[in-house]
């Protein structure tokens, strides 16, 4: 088992009038090599759950286990190493650095590592080619269309060959053919042993043969638990 959560809760603005329980006692398990779709209406807590799984934020209560170890209370430097070595995260809001070029943006995860600048560049260009972005490599991120930015965000998540790919609505800005391209890439990675976790509203994804399991969130809780 790769990822596991136990009674995971996230409460925003705790103790203030605008307190909000975004995630309520979620327990789930993700096995190595699984491909999972995470569904649910807007505001149901999908992004919150994903960011907790990828150690981008800390839970209010409950635990996240990665590879058999509880990671929720680990100090920040261990989390940074986890994020770098195991996770590739595609943000819903892209989170690109606006005035940096495409190639520089996607090189960022590799900069502190041991690869030489030339090697980083080569890897970056090959990922960009997969995503049909090679001709935009020198353009600034803020000058790209929504779909292009989304693909840059995907490229940045893939550049480090992560073991777990966490994608937050990766096709929201992509057209039909680009969605297919992405699904092909993800299938190839999955075939190579990667674990996929994809939050989506897109039927093209959760009906795709690649997806082995669907988890549905509702108001911060797992929907199947609420089912009568």
């Amino acid at each position: 088992m790769l990822l596991k959560t136990e009674h995971l809760s996230k409460i925003y603005n705790r103790g203030r009038p605008d307190e909000l329980t975004a995630l309520n006692a979620v327990s789930l398990e993700v096995h190595t090599g699984e491909a999972i779709a995470l569904c649910g209406p807007s505001g149901s807590g999908k992004t919150t759950l994903l960011s907790l799984l990828a150690c981008m934020s800390r839970p209010t209560s409950g635990q996240v286990w990665f590879d058999g170890k509880s990671i929720s209370r680990l100090p920040e430097r261990f989390l940074a190493a986890l994020r770098r070595d195991h996770f590739g995260y595609i943000f819903q809001q892209f989170n690109l650095i606006r005035d940096l070029s495409v190639i520089d943006n996607i090189s960022i995860p590799l900069l502190p590592g041991t690869l030489s600048p030339q090697q980083i560049r080569k890897r970056g260009m090959s990922v960009l080619e997969q995503l049909d972005l090679a001709d935009k490599a020198k353009q600034k991120a803020c000058q790209l269309s929504g779909g292009e930015q989304q693909r840059v965000a995907i490229a940045r998540a893939l550049i480090g060959n992560p073991q777990v790919i966490i994608a937050d609505e990766p096709t929201a800005h992509l057209d039909h053919s680009l969605t297919n391209d992405l699904l092909n890439i993800l299938s190839a990675l999955h075939a190579g042993g990667a674990t996929l976790l994809i939050a989506t509203h897109d039927p093209a994804i959760y009906h795709h043969p690649l997806i082995q399991r669907t988890i549905t969130l509702h108001n911060g809780s797992l929907a199947d638990l609420l089912a009568p």
Binding site: R77, F87, L100, D104, I108, L111, P112, R156
Partner: protein, 385 residues
Amino acid sequence: MNRQLKLLEYALAGLTRRKGKNVALLLVYAFTIAALGSVLFLTDALRSEARQTLDHAPEMVVQRISAGRHELIPRSYATTIAQLPGVRQATPRVWGYYYDALVRANFTLMGVTEPETQIKDLQGQLPAADNECAVGIGIADIFGATIGDSLVLVDAHGKNRVFAISGIFSAHSALLTHDLILMPEPALRAFFNLDPTVATDIAVSIANPREITTLAKKVRYHLPDTRPISRSEILHTYDSIFNWRSGMMFAVSVAALIAFCILAWDKATGISADEKREIGILKAVGWNTGDVMAIKFWEGLILSLSAFLIGTIAAWLHVFVLGAPALTPILKGWSVLFPPFSLQPVTDPYQILVLAFLTIAPYLACTLIPAWKTAVTAPEQAMRS
């Protein structure tokens, strides 16, 4: 090493992205350092000039103090002092001031007793006849006079006296001779209407420098109304005149420091939402806090070190090549006779290091501390800003 190079590259790219702001910051910062550095270089050079040249001043000067003021000293005191064992020579000297109402400047008049002395920094001759004088370049310039011209001075009886200029001190020695007018001692006595039994002070030559303090005590013992001033006290005076805490220099430094603090404070408190977001993204894609701090360290160092280098080099050129045109008005005040600076570029490496430390370290701290605060928060939260 390679990793640091990559991070440095990233930091530089980051700085060039916010080019306008950073160039402005660099210039303001460099200007502040140049102001501080100029003050430092100027005072250092003046101090070292004083230390070098005045090292040949008389071992001891004896003044008479009367009613708490410097008074004329009886020449007989010189005989008393000369008899003390260890004293090589005690020479009564005559000198004084002359205020010229037209140019509104004080000149220093000094009596010459040995007109045959060869002075390398003098063009022409020392005054030998009673109606001759040698002047500093400042006086020659202010009146547009050259050798052979004459100065008309009003003596103690209110009579005009004509002195032909027999020599002019070279500009090289202006820091010592700028406002000097030398005359034969008898002529100066007559000019000031001084009694032949008195002198302005007594220059004492002492064979063994280690005996100066003891001799000063003896002089005070035998002649209680005198004030002996030793050479080390003269040098000490110049050491303390041009130091950090001295009046106007202090004001300039404080102004510069305040400007710098405002700069640093703005930097420390004003970590922008953009910067926070960037730190959040870097952390989210797997950088650890150390990597983030490394680029922030580079950013701070690039800016502050460059500003320090630019500022210090500019200050050096300003003081030693241009002659400190921006500082002289402050030094000069209403002075009419202000010597041109052709200072020897002597600097104190220790002070430069202190300046480097005082300018680079606080700026680095101001860059690193807020960045560190952001870097240790969860990336998800940092990215939201």
